[in-house]
Symmetry: C2
Subunit: 217 residues, 2 copies
Amino acid sequence: MARTIGSHGPKTMEAIRKAGLRLIFEHGYAAMSLRQLAAEVGIQSGSLYNHISTKQELLFDLVRDHINELLRQLDRALQGKQRPADKLRAFVAFHVTYHMTKKREVFIANSELRSLEPKNYEEIVALRGAYEQRLAAILTEGVAEGEFEVVDVQVATFAILALLTGLTTWYRPGGRLTKEAIVAAHEKLVLSSVAPTGTADRASQCAPSPRSGLARR
Amino acid sequence: MARTIGSHGPKTMEAIRKAGLRLIFEHGYAAMSLRQLAAEVGIQSGSLYNHISTKQELLFDLVRDHINELLRQLDRALQGKQRPADKLRAFVAFHVTYHMTKKREVFIANSELRSLEPKNYEEIVALRGAYEQRLAAILTEGVAEGEFEVVDVQVATFAILALLTGLTTWYRPGGRLTKEAIVAAHEKLVLSSVAPTGTADRASQCAPSPRSGLARR
């Protein structure tokens, strides 16, 4: 289909994306019709096709762009960090701060994976895997250097990501805690969660730290 | 509407619940029609009304029963546990094990809160709050006794629940790890996450533990 985007094209496309995000968030992908989307944007249904080919394409673009942006900004946040603990702290601060403003994107990226066509699903899962891999690499490095102790790097990776992303279900701007306090609360939880257990055990507190034998069981 | 449930009533109701759970999980609440539900169960649309009045009632029942069962079984799992660390360990083991078999229920309880009518929404949020409160009480007790250190009990409660529930997004029976290994991996993460930082900090490992000043900032 020929696209006839005029000077208002990018602006309209942005409005379509915003409206799509809201409608999918509120009603679900399957329940959103393109007619409803056009009405929400304030254009004719026919005009919608100047900007998007299908509903599927819109969903895929929304989820893909969200994860690509996550990856891009994460790599910037990790730049220059050397020690695994510093990298993990930077990861936590970035992920928490970024997700404070992405409630809808996160909800859709999780709840509408089911609605992606197989090829799109594969691509999103691969992108998400790349993001998960950044965290897994930090944990693996920390375990190798004896700084971290985890029972299983993969389980820890998924668990820490779930912990951090959980705030999208309750965070509201202007709530009881400052953004800084919320980041600090998550940093404490995550940094401690991978700390060697020997050091957290009061009974053996002054014994020599077991630097080896802490890796994956 | 008069209900004319015969001897097959309970069996049919169970089939309706199962089919409803699957359809909402796969397509979303808004996209599921009662006609579709009846077809899935293998009964006439009209017969559906012998068992449920509305689609809303079905969604509400599914979510409410899920959380009530969680509460009931959690209280049994916590029985006889005295120390906060033992309670927390029991909480983790219960929550992880229970959720291994409740992927669909958890997904719906989270993703379809938006679809509950206000009165039903309030009731579910209150029930969920009661479950969260069990964990918050364990953390509060642990902090008061100097066993735990968290920056904020409420944030820690939400974060730990998100961490534990995260496994519903990746767990598959028969995977790489045994159930016991998965529980152990979560126990390590959660128990460590609330450990006092003084003990996890190698530099101050042999200093006296700061028993006070660990509470909510």
